[in-house]
Symmetry: D4
Subunit: 151 residues, 8 copies
Amino acid sequence: MKPLVRILLGSKSDMKIGDGIKEYLDKLKVPYDFHISSAHRKPENTVNLAKDAKDEGIKVIIAVAGMAAHLPGVVAAHTTLPVIGVPVKGPTLTGEDALYSIVQMPTGVPVASVAINGGKNAAILACQIIGASDKKYSDLLAEYKKELAET
Amino acid sequence: MKPLVRILLGSKSDMKIGDGIKEYLDKLKVPYDFHISSAHRKPENTVNLAKDAKDEGIKVIIAVAGMAAHLPGVVAAHTTLPVIGVPVKGPTLTGEDALYSIVQMPTGVPVASVAINGGKNAAILACQIIGASDKKYSDLLAEYKKELAET
Amino acid sequence: MKPLVRILLGSKSDMKIGDGIKEYLDKLKVPYDFHISSAHRKPENTVNLAKDAKDEGIKVIIAVAGMAAHLPGVVAAHTTLPVIGVPVKGPTLTGEDALYSIVQMPTGVPVASVAINGGKNAAILACQIIGASDKKYSDLLAEYKKELAET
Amino acid sequence: MKPLVRILLGSKSDMKIGDGIKEYLDKLKVPYDFHISSAHRKPENTVNLAKDAKDEGIKVIIAVAGMAAHLPGVVAAHTTLPVIGVPVKGPTLTGEDALYSIVQMPTGVPVASVAINGGKNAAILACQIIGASDKKYSDLLAEYKKELAET
Amino acid sequence: MKPLVRILLGSKSDMKIGDGIKEYLDKLKVPYDFHISSAHRKPENTVNLAKDAKDEGIKVIIAVAGMAAHLPGVVAAHTTLPVIGVPVKGPTLTGEDALYSIVQMPTGVPVASVAINGGKNAAILACQIIGASDKKYSDLLAEYKKELAET
Amino acid sequence: MKPLVRILLGSKSDMKIGDGIKEYLDKLKVPYDFHISSAHRKPENTVNLAKDAKDEGIKVIIAVAGMAAHLPGVVAAHTTLPVIGVPVKGPTLTGEDALYSIVQMPTGVPVASVAINGGKNAAILACQIIGASDKKYSDLLAEYKKELAET
Amino acid sequence: MKPLVRILLGSKSDMKIGDGIKEYLDKLKVPYDFHISSAHRKPENTVNLAKDAKDEGIKVIIAVAGMAAHLPGVVAAHTTLPVIGVPVKGPTLTGEDALYSIVQMPTGVPVASVAINGGKNAAILACQIIGASDKKYSDLLAEYKKELAET
Amino acid sequence: MKPLVRILLGSKSDMKIGDGIKEYLDKLKVPYDFHISSAHRKPENTVNLAKDAKDEGIKVIIAVAGMAAHLPGVVAAHTTLPVIGVPVKGPTLTGEDALYSIVQMPTGVPVASVAINGGKNAAILACQIIGASDKKYSDLLAEYKKELAET
């Protein structure tokens, strides 16, 4: 099936968060592709992954990054698709550096931030965005919501 | 036209943020409805506005709140639609109270946070979410993006 | 004996804090009941536990939650009983997210916050609230206070 | 009528917060007395106001203080009554100094903190504590809650 | 030799900090006495240790406390001697709660704060205070300063 | 004279900071050019200004931005020249959002951060960088340092 | 009378804090001298003022500084006298930058920090330090403490 | 080869950060010397290392320090060379104390701050500063940048 969500990781060290995203997209049956591409170390590649997403049928981009977490904002600058940012706690501060770098975007270029290390919620939010216009996914979400209440 | 976005304000004192949201939804031609309904002072009303949204054709909910900003989370608990939270700076702290209360949601119930006082970006993000499945809005966004680069 | 205090946990992962509350309510001989019920994952159940508390003879509700800790506020929205909130330190920030989400309530719907991870003090405070109108508990507290000074 | 609530202000400069407390206790018909007594500048007087409160029929103490806001904790050390602390924003930091000084009490001596500058909620919480054992006040609170939903 | 410094610990759990103070007072040959006495759990005892210090020949009081660290401020309220506060990092926040509770004292009742967990520096500062009027200790400090530069 | 420093502003609203940079580069006789180019709203233009700088004889780039201040990092991703970032205090938080977004860069792509709103120091630092290999500018700096000591 | 306290200001812009120090030293009859000398702009002069203080009969140094407030630490590095640091709130952050720069000194070189903008308390603390070995000043402090309780 | 970079460590405990700097300067073939010299414990030595650097052919100084991290600022006060500061996370706070002490320098005496614990980036930045006027190093950086994109 063609991917509807594009996952971008700023660094291989954020793989654990990436795995949480995949786990929940799998659970909700949302097809995705997955790339590691730093906004700072591989900027051209990152920009292309952002620019091409829409024409490739992607509906939401999830970008994961820690510290001065520019990845989601850089991606958002190059697409009109909704971009979800996942701030990652780094080795020194408590994650507020990544959170501020992701959430405090200037007017005109929004990023949708979820919780620090909140990869799983990014997956659910991506499914909600797709589900807003696709009954298949909103039904899957309704089922998941019931399941959630029962655990 | 039937509203596609529902705006919820936690308090009349956040009206200025609400006006920014309306201004940008108008600019992007996204139809919306608008309610003031506190999560704490009018909980039943708030829950109903969340629960009924999907059946009324709403595709995204924007919830605006300051201090212990529970409104977006409470709304998210009662819908499978994507919920955008706008944290508002209050009279004492610098807005991090509202930001944390909105963005730090537990696994299973995401809220998409934008910047503190970032109502305009919430409007654009809502349009992006709708535009992900509706060419009309993604075209409007593409135009807006060009305009943005020219200012 | 009929419970006078209702303990609500937002998540099973906060069980250690819950155990501290029970330990101190036991020590002060205050009868209680205990529920795990997330404000976001099981909102109806949570609301009912709040709404019914007063008629069931409960005098104080203790609500424990981490991250965007909405549980105490959601409970307070549905009862006129005093609600004590216990913020829990989560895996990323240092607990200030939960503290702000609990303590920064808007005018009209107070929550009484104790220290981060301060479950034991929530139990003592609950006993003080009951003891304000019931000599049996205020005597038990007076004894405890002496004991405290001797350790 | 004999006072049921004792209000203590750490400094005359917090009078505006004190007025908010009075306004809401008046609205809820809770009788109170009122004192300005710094924990640091008039320690003996403060300790006596705490120690004597219970025998004078007081059921709740509200203590208001800014900066290194020790007043609520010092009061709590000398009584078994529930003590509500109101942190006040000072001229430099954003109020988190007073909040931490009030809420982070050690095990054994709880203080119930409300929001920064949250005097009105301290009044409502005091009424809830009294109302937990006195139908007159819980009825007044039920009325107030309705009124709140209607504004 | 009669003690010149009084060390007060708010809790046995701060013993490691207390040991650092003793080590450095020993190194600088400053005689001291040592007490564990919580401001909240043993307030009378604490007040007496503060009040009597001057007449017993004490010249500086060092007070060590974590969380809502009121001990140094409570001591300062009952003496005209200089009081050094040592904020201790607790189990949740990063120590800024204790720091603010110690350093943000209101006009009229100063506390001299050293670094978080900075017990050793409290000992040196105490020696500097005594050495300001006693050549024996200022000579010992001059020697220590040389030693420091050589390590 | 050909410019040695390139100044980039993320937004016209940061003009006051930009003026401080110009004032100090003028004072130190460092030739510069000046552009307003948002990393998010005009990404291609911004990238080109970064990429072309070296070949145009620029030796240092100063990038000024507030909130999620990505501009300096985006510039640094596209050049091997030293990039100085100036974080700007925005309307809600106290400037720590911009500071973290600028200073917390990942290994491989450094940005040199100066103080929040510290445009003047960015100018001096740029001159120091040029002066490290150009006696003319290091002499001008030596003079400025004397002048500074005399004010 | 020969000065017993040396006041150092890092910048003319902190004059208001300097005036508060003078006012309180005058009130307590403590003789002082006063200098404006930046640790960064006039380092030699600052070092000399620190080094010579002891031989000139000074017993305490008060150093006032904002932002990266190095002045008190630099002074403490060059004297064995007790050094009191007064952190000053600057134009961007809320004063925590100056507080951390003053209070977080490494082992071996303590600085006694008072509250942000707490110049008056620095004066009182200086008097307490002198009064620890000089009855005249401890008597003046005892009087002041009474006066304080009466206001 | 004569050193072009001088590395200064405030304390032996920061050796791990120092090793990261050396590793990257070696990788980029930049010759350096290395000193441990505290700004507070060995102030004269530190000042001399700063003052003499320029005449010894040094082009950039990297200064590493934690807590009240004055070392970079003290060095900057005594040279017109560019000074890079590396804030180090200490045992209590999360590194923001060192960051603020380094980055918040007053006008006239800039320090270039990199990320908390960002020693490797300090090395790259030093190479960029030298490379701005020396093709050999800018070529090495161009190669490194390619390598970075390939990892």
